[in-house]
């Protein structure tokens, strides 16, 4: 520890602490432009120059990187220091007339104008090099650098081309003190497209209410995963909880299990192809997911319902059945939408004074307490229109209405075509099977229906089982359902597993295929047909064999066996022929 005096205040700090940090501990502000505590001090703006007195000798040092090693006296605001700072700011004003931070500093110091010729430009770069440092030392992408030297010095990618190594991480923009580097031209607008459920930062919670509720590193966004650099999180985590050597490689582990419960869930229907609703094209047209995200207290809007311009909407239309109950997309009802849409309406009423329009085909409030909630929403004064939203257009296309958007629909109760001017549209998109459901299904030898959901063994009698023993279904992967139903099905699936395990032995269906070894000639026609890979070929004996435990008795191989070596028990050729002939006799 060393004891130093800064502007007359004494402080004891650890050795090698920089003057700037020590001063900040004392609440003394030393202006610094090229300094960011996450980056090794570069010490080039020289704005943080302070007077350092050791014994009788006084010298000028930069506060950002001068390590305190002995008892010294520091003056951060002496006349000499001030003079230097003022000159510095004057010079930077001429260099970067457009940089607001410089103008602010100048105003703070009472500098009205610079003595140097001011070019008419809005140049903002002060060549502090933070972006270059960030890109090379932190990100390690090496996409930015200095070129030329002296007063011609400029910052940019090599040869002014789009750098191949740039990973679009935005670190340069983040560190830029003057706003010279920008990622987008959003200018503080709220981009609804960013209101997704999924993580949009490198370190996030996997999803809201995740259990365990700890952040994880998302390799798609993590700079370290891309370049090997950064690791700022490691530096700032005081608990030293982040360990990239362990995170760096995914490991594959094999488990032997007796049962699998498929609970792979769903994905949101993407309304982009439904051009009529203008999703992705018109501003303030959101999916239900985005709207839900916006309502979350942890959202970028802090839970406020706002339009892209940051203002509160005056009216919101909530469109039901987007992609559900639709011949062109999904014929099924997604079941959960009606209720959460009513909840949306409620939220809007609570948070804003906006008018809410619900456009529905049929209001399906079938569950316990649901209908009561519907009544409550009606009492709250929500406009409920029976008629599917047909089209969303910008208001100016039709007439200058109250809102920025017009929702066209037919109100089937009054039998009239209506155009409703609104500020915001929420599209309640269908739940749909995950894109990889069929592939996953093949892995587990279970099938998917035409609507993409996994098929249960029997719709009424075995709703959580599948045709494959030991594979069970729970939740939306089997079909759209709400939380209570999912929980119930999950519990049922768990019970099924327990039942299976408790029995200690598996009960097999009596129907399965058998290959008569004496007849099979090993032509291998059947080998590729089995969806359950139950047929194996014995290369020694040159015959195929069916594993009865894997066989589900579909009989495809029986029909295909050209030499009649395969018998489908309970559905033998003899039995079927006899049935046919018996019917016709």
């Amino acid at each position: 520890m060393v004891k130093v005096t800064i502007d007359g205040l004494e402080i004891e700090v650890e050795e090698e602490t920089t003057i700037l940090k020590a001063a900040r501990q004392l609440g003394i502000t030393i202006p610094a432009l090229c300094y960011n505590e996450l980056i090794e001090p570069y010490a080039v703006c020289r704005l943080c120059v302070v007077e350092l007195q050791r014994g009788q000798r006084t010298r000028l040092v930069t506060a950002c990187n001068y390590p305190l090693r002995e008892s010294v006296v520091i003056r951060t605001n002496s006349e000499r220091v001030q003079r230097l700072r003022r000159m510095n700011i004057e010079l930077l004003m001429a260099r970067a007339p457009g940089a607001k931070i410089i103008q602010d500093l100048a105003a703070e110091m009472g500098i009205e104008r610079t003595r140097f010729p001011l070019e008419d430009s809005d140049e903002k770069c002060i060549l502090c090099g933070l972006c270059v440092q960030a890109c090379s030392d932190v990100v390690q992408a090496y996409a930015l650098g200095f070129s030329e030297r002296g007063s011609k010095r400029v910052i940019g990618p090599p040869y002014d081309t789009t750098p191949e190594t740039c990973i679009l991480c935005g670190a340069c923009a983040y560190f830029c003190p003057t706003g010279h580097i920008k990622m987008t031209d959003t200018d503080g607008r709220i981009l609804h497209s960013e209101l997704t459920l999924g993580p949009n930062a490198a370190i996030t919670l996997p999803f809201r209410q995740a259990i365990p509720n700890v952040p994880r590193v998302n390799p798609d966004y993590c700079i370290h995963m891309k370049t090997g650099g950064c690791e700022l999180c490691v530096k700032v985590c005081q608990k030293e909880a982040i360990n990239f050597t362990e995170l760096a490689q995914d490991s594959f582990e094999e488990f032997e299990v007796g049962a699998v419960i498929m609970a792979t869930g769903f994905q949101d229907f993407d309304p982009t192809p439904m051009k009529l609703y203008g999703y992705g094209v018109l501003p303030n047209v959101l999916t239900s997911d985005e709207f839900e995200r916006m309502n979350n207290a942890a959202s970028p809007t802090g839970g406020r319902i706002v339009m892209e311009n940051g203002e509160e909407p005056r009216s919101i239309a909530i469109l039901h059945c987007i992609g559900s109950r639709d011949e062109h997309y999904h014929k099924y009802c997604s079941r959960v939408c009606c209720m959460y849409e009513l909840n949306f309406a409620h939220l809007v009423n609570v948070k804003t004074s906006a008018e809410v329009y619900q456009l529905y085909i049929d209001m399906r409030s079938f569950g316990k307490g649901y209908e009561e909630f519907y009544q409550r929403i009606l009492d709250e004064g929500v406009n409920v229109i029976r008629g599917k939203g047909a089209e969303v257009v910008p208001a100016y296309q039709k007439r200058r209405g109250e809102g920025g958007l017009l929702v066209c629909c037919e109100d089937t109760l009054i039998g009239k075509y209506r155009e409703i001017p609104v500020d915001m549209v929420v599209l309640c998109t269908a739940l749909e099977a995950r894109a990889d459901a069929a592939e996953i299904g093949r892995k587990f030898n279970i099938s998917t229906g035409a609507d993409g959901w996994f098929i249960e063994a029997h719709p009424k009698l075995a709703p959580v089982s599948t045709t494959t023993e030991g594979i069970f279904l729970a939740g939306v992967c089997q079909g759209a359902k709400d939380i209570p139903d999912s929980v119930a099905q999950g519990a049922a699936a768990a019970a099924q597993v327990m039942k299976m395990f408790c029995q200690g032995e598996l009960l097999m269906d009596g129907a399965y295929a058998e290959i008569v070894e004496d007849i099979c000639s090993g032509c291998r026609i059947c080998n590729g047909l089995c969806p359950y890979n139950a047929i194996t070929y014995d290369i020694e004996k040159k015959v195929s064999a069916v594993n009865p435990a894997m066989c589900k008795a579909c009989g495809t191989c029986v029909a295909a066996c050209p030499s009649g070596a395969i018998t489908g028990r309970h559905f033998t050729d003899e039995q079927i022929y006899a049935q046919i002939e018996g019917i016709l006799a």
Binding site: N65, R95, R149, R153
Partner: protein, 609 residues
Amino acid sequence: MKPYRINLMVCAGTGCVANHSFEIKKALEDEVKKRGLENEVQVVATGCNGFCAEGPLMVVQPEGIFYHQVTIKDIPHLVEEHFLKGRPVQKLMYVPPDAKAPIPKMSDISFFNRQMLIALRNRGLIDPEKIDEAIGRGAYSALAKVLTAMTPPEVVSLIKASGLRGRGGGGFPTGIKWETCRKAHGEPKYIICNADEGDPGAFMDRSIIEGDPHSVLEGMLIGAYAIGSHHGYIYIRQEYPLARERLTIAVQQAREYGLLGDNIFGTGFQFDIKVARGAGAFVCGESTALMASIEGRVGEPRAKYIHTVEHGLWNLPTCLNNVETWATVPEIILKGAEWFTSIGTGDVSKNPWGGSKGTKVFSLTGKVKNTGLVEVPMGITLREIIYDIGGGIPKGKQFKSVQTGGPSGGFLPASLLDLQVDYEQLTEAGSMMGSGGMVVMDEDNCMVDMAKYFLAFTQDESCGKCTPCREGTMRMLETLERITQGKGREEDIQLLEDLSQFVMDASLCALGGSAPNPVLTSLRYFREEYITHIRDKKCPAHVCRELNVYTIDPGLCVTKGHGCGVCRRQCPENAITGEKNVAHVVSQELCKKCGVCYDVCKFDAVKVA
């Protein structure tokens, strides 16, 4: 080695090489052979003698007869007369500017005899490409002494006691640097020789390497032993091809002789040197920028609160010294600290910064008769250097100022001619020792213009990393240009002073820290010139053309030139009117002050005011 009756030491320094000294050497060898003297006369190409203005030079040893400005045509005559018949050729001998009779012997020429050679001890005496000749002159004996009879701390304390200070410009006590580096934690430690001599007109380091590379290698070896390093770098400019070649040869030969590599002198000491080439950026002479350059990064300096002796090259302890410093070390070892402290000023026994000891090599240029490289003891006065060694100002002009220390050095006026040359006094006067540049200016030099000239150089060479140096020097230059163009404002002097102070105080490295010196000293000693420029819009030396007023003396024009019309025809602006036998007139409205009329008039009829 075979003894010869006569050794012809042909100067093969860069200046003389540019004047065909290699061709002369070849012609001499041919001629010697033709005359059948090859067993008696040996022709040797040596390093620079320093008297570059008079090249190509040749010294006939052992008599010490000095020939200058030798041409190939002179050779048959020279060989026949001198080497065959024993009659030195008078017409090739040097005649001092103010004397009539030639001076035959080198040792009698004032340019040489007022010098004191330590770093340049072997100049003109050996073939730098032959290690044997260097060893013959005592090279590596200091190393032998160190390795066999001294411990590293003894070496360090000897150097400390000698008061040797860095010759690269900073003047940091070498012994202290070695001691700190020796004690620094981290392995391996590096030794670097800074041969990135970037000052315009300076060629001290170049001459040492070209003339006696082994002195540098030996110095580095001694330093390595003292510090405990096994790896050395010599960072040399790509623009010094001859020096680089001779250095490479020297390193190669030293390796062959077991003077570099493992187990040197059988003592187990191990050291080797790599030659690194610089790309010619002035700022790479700055130690941290130089190290960045060796590491393969952009040559830019960094803040030095963490010293390079502790965290230098590749963040490891590094001892960097200048060529001249390294070359001086072996002599101190051999002759002792006492001998070294007997030369120079001040007292270093208590305070290492207390005095300047030994000699310093200067490259003497500008408005002085004998330009060239001189090594003089510390404490010599500027007058002695300029008038005794340099022979004074040519054409009888008036001395105006001398700038020491390279482009960042300050201008010293005539009143300070008796200033003793040492670190402290030069700094006190607003200039610096620097690496040893010395530019003499006479009455024809405009000090504002000179300040602008040197600032333009440092501004151009600024790496641009820190704000003061990048923005400040640019704005200073901008202001100086304004003044020399007659657009100066009263407040510009204050602005220049403010800017200079800012750049000096706040810059990251010494380049910026010293760049304002020319401006500050010219403002200090020649302030009235600025005021004349600004208030009167006049340049007293008529150097700043935009401030000049060209007129034609009608009398001279008619009487002498008969209205020749050359000026009229040459004037690009057609600002001159007149006819034959009629006095010409310059239209001040049209005149763009290019000065062509002044340059072309054979009759001095064009006048500048």
